[in-house]
Symmetry: C2
Amino acid sequence: MSSFKPDAVELRHHLSEVAKARATSPLKGLQKYLNKPGLLSLAGGLPAPDYFPFADVSANILVPNSFPSTTSGESNFSWIWKLFGAKEKTTAITIPKYARRPEDLNLATALQYGLSSGLPQLQKLVENFSKRVYDPAYNDCVTMLHAGNTDAWNKAVLTLCNPGEGVLVSKWTYPSAMASMTPYNIRPVPVDIDGQGMRSDALRTVLTEWDEDARGMPRPHVIYAVPIGENPTGTTTGLQRKKEIYQLCVEFDIILVEDDPYFVLQEGPYLPKEQRKPGSPQTDEEFIASLEPSYLKIDYQGRVIRLDTFSKTMAPGCRLGWYTCNAMFAERLERAAETSTQAPCGFSQSLVASTLIQWGEAGYMRWLKGLRVQYTLRRDFLVDCFANEFQLITTSGTDMWAGCQVFNGSVKPKSTTHFFNEKVPLSTPIFSFVPPTSGMFVWLKVHFTEHPAYSTLGVKELETKLFIEFAEAGLLIGPGAMFNPTNEWSNVTSGHYRVSFSNGENEELKKAVDIFGKVLRRFMEV
Amino acid sequence: MSSFKPDAVELRHHLSEVAKARATSPLKGLQKYLNKPGLLSLAGGLPAPDYFPFADVSANILVPNSFPSTTSGESNFSWIWKLFGAKEKTTAITIPKYARRPEDLNLATALQYGLSSGLPQLQKLVENFSKRVYDPAYNDCVTMLHAGNTDAWNKAVLTLCNPGEGVLVSKWTYPSAMASMTPYNIRPVPVDIDGQGMRSDALRTVLTEWDEDARGMPRPHVIYAVPIGENPTGTTTGLQRKKEIYQLCVEFDIILVEDDPYFVLQEGPYLPKEQRKPGSPQTDEEFIASLEPSYLKIDYQGRVIRLDTFSKTMAPGCRLGWYTCNAMFAERLERAAETSTQAPCGFSQSLVASTLIQWGEAGYMRWLKGLRVQYTLRRDFLVDCFANEFQLITTSGTDMWAGCQVFNGSVKPKSTTHFFNEKVPLSTPIFSFVPPTSGMFVWLKVHFTEHPAYSTLGVKELETKLFIEFAEAGLLIGPGAMFNPTNEWSNVTSGHYRVSFSNGENEELKKAVDIFGKVLRRFMEV
């Protein structure tokens, strides 16, 4: 780790007017009194914990090795639990209202008004995780809890941007993140992507050729990045690409917000069924080393605000995650929380902290390894379904998929009738995708150029029509238009659909691909 | 209840530019498909509930009659529990991951991404509560869950106000609410108060005499009100005053945000110990009728956004509450939540819902009656302590306390030395207060005009010096300066301190008043 200590003052000009106008903490002057032992405080508007109706809160939590840590032929047996009502292996945790030792988790503290930065016990746990797993490039970065990445991004963008400014985003990106900022007149500036997400050469071009007058806004000083299993495209940005993008951040004085919910869901390359080999268990160090690193690892100037969430590693309803960033940004983000969300929910903080304590650091690593395998099995199963339903031919990708092996789906020669259908030759693919190496999504391109009505209806219209046909047949998948951050369609020649494999059981995924195939073939008239 | 249906469109011009710019829900077009039974959805980015580590969550909750429902001589015995380790009477609740009946609370739903408006089961419970207890003046008001009143106010003010606008507030008001809006250049406009909070005549004067140029902003169209046990002054706005203020809202086209965390803590008038009579139990209807009503009861035009919270009725760490307002405002507030906080924490929603279901509506009413009594006992005890420590003489209030019985504290003739101290005659009070009828706070005025250094140091300096002396002696109370929404001090001749009785045990309250007395007498040189 570098001993470089970023001078936060150099980055101060990145703060928005709102962030600058936030007062220092009202508690600041009182801090020395608040820490005085034995001080009697009638200053706060605190209800008495005796009147909290919760005498204790407990949970039965799954043991860390509930799911296999390798893809060695084992499949997802969770449906068996539900089918036969069998009990998973669990362990009990309890948080009492009053703890014997003040350092132990207790509801009297967790359910009281508390620090917006979160319960100290949980703060310590996430700090250790961030330092161990992300290995930040400077020593004194700060971790601070937040109420989930959506809110954290909202606070981050309003801390960094003024109305009328722009944020650099991937050409296809997460719509909620855009909906968070556009009402404040902070506009997305799309950058072309390839199989690794945002292209560094395209980013350089946008920045170098920036014309403030033509664009109607100053050159953006913020990047919104989802570097692992990007939503919706499923792309993952490797370390070399990250270095190139970070170098541009240094060169053009840019802050990068790394929204990384899928970090542990790095499933690796998809292999056809017959080529899969049983994996061997990894040590924690091997596991960490096998994951594409965070931007924090190369952030020697404190330009990265990383957003972590428990939504994918525990549950979205926790509404809990944490920032890792430099102290100056952390302080402004804490002020923003104090006057809005305050601390994250106390049930969530204490139950998540208690789970992590019960599991221990090694247990949590084991849990994450299991999750990665489970989502890998689901990814593999969905792609296998496509391989069963269609003839999949791989080609080298171009444009958005340059450098990737693209899977092109064409009608499978099921019956002789297909051989004589001359509308579309057998080898013409009607859709394509790159199996993602991370995350929850397969991003499909449907080749509407092959559709008889392409020239009359256009891509957007066809995309909507097909979306409705899928839905009418019983399958809901995300239409590409949702993920277009601008209303620019001129260079879009395919329809796009985001298919999530994260929450479908095998039978559901199979049924979904059946419907997809039937509807798509009919729609494309092949 | 009136059958008047407010035309929400008439109020549309109150929406801020940000609120207007919020898109309609991205789910809107898909709604008809989402509700289709048997539809297979691979559209969302949902993790699989099988991988939520929480197999179930349980709590032992206090029974609804844990605390006496009347002040009939019973005192707060909660310290005995802790002293002897005795168990409170509790009942168990459990929320399983998967419920047998889909309408039952379950973690698979509660901990999944969900509607920003909250879990339907909890929504129904708060809707019933709002309708029954607040008895709104129009039929089709909407309830919607939120993540606590601080965040709800933040969302409300940004939904209603543009930068450069003002919000009408009481002369002394809640600092966090101000800190929520001032960084956006939405400025507080103080209105004079009396013993019932904001004065309607003063409000009319401010509105009638509004000079946009002199003030540098348009006439405000939003009031921030804490009508019950206002923070910090402890004042409560009666129905007649509410009608007068509401009439001004109609006349001057104003939206009123009612932040009402202390609604059930309506303790009633303070009576000296010897005058207290044992109360008799109230039916639920009598209990509801005994509470000052909400602004909703007179809101026939949909001008009120009411904010309710579970922070005082359950625990602040729930970070859970709800809006009651017209459908148009609710829709914009829901959009604001979707792109930031999303749904309130799922643990909180399901545990609070399960508690309310376990208790039943009558049980919850019984719980609230008990809370009211507990805080009444604490209020009484604190004032009793002042009566023991000082000679308290009551007078009719003027100015801020017009219409109130004011308690004036002077040095108690403990020893003969006091009789011959000529610096301050015995009858000269050194501080005053009005015992609050609601809430958690006693708002003290210290008569610095009697202080030898008044003319040289001034009020603000003396207030800070005395605050530090209290703290150095071991007592922390809120200095008045924190609650001054502007930096205007010209008409302030007393020092102010907010003393909270909500979270002190009897011994602590007694010790606090001992310190207060000792330090104040020394400081005032009496």
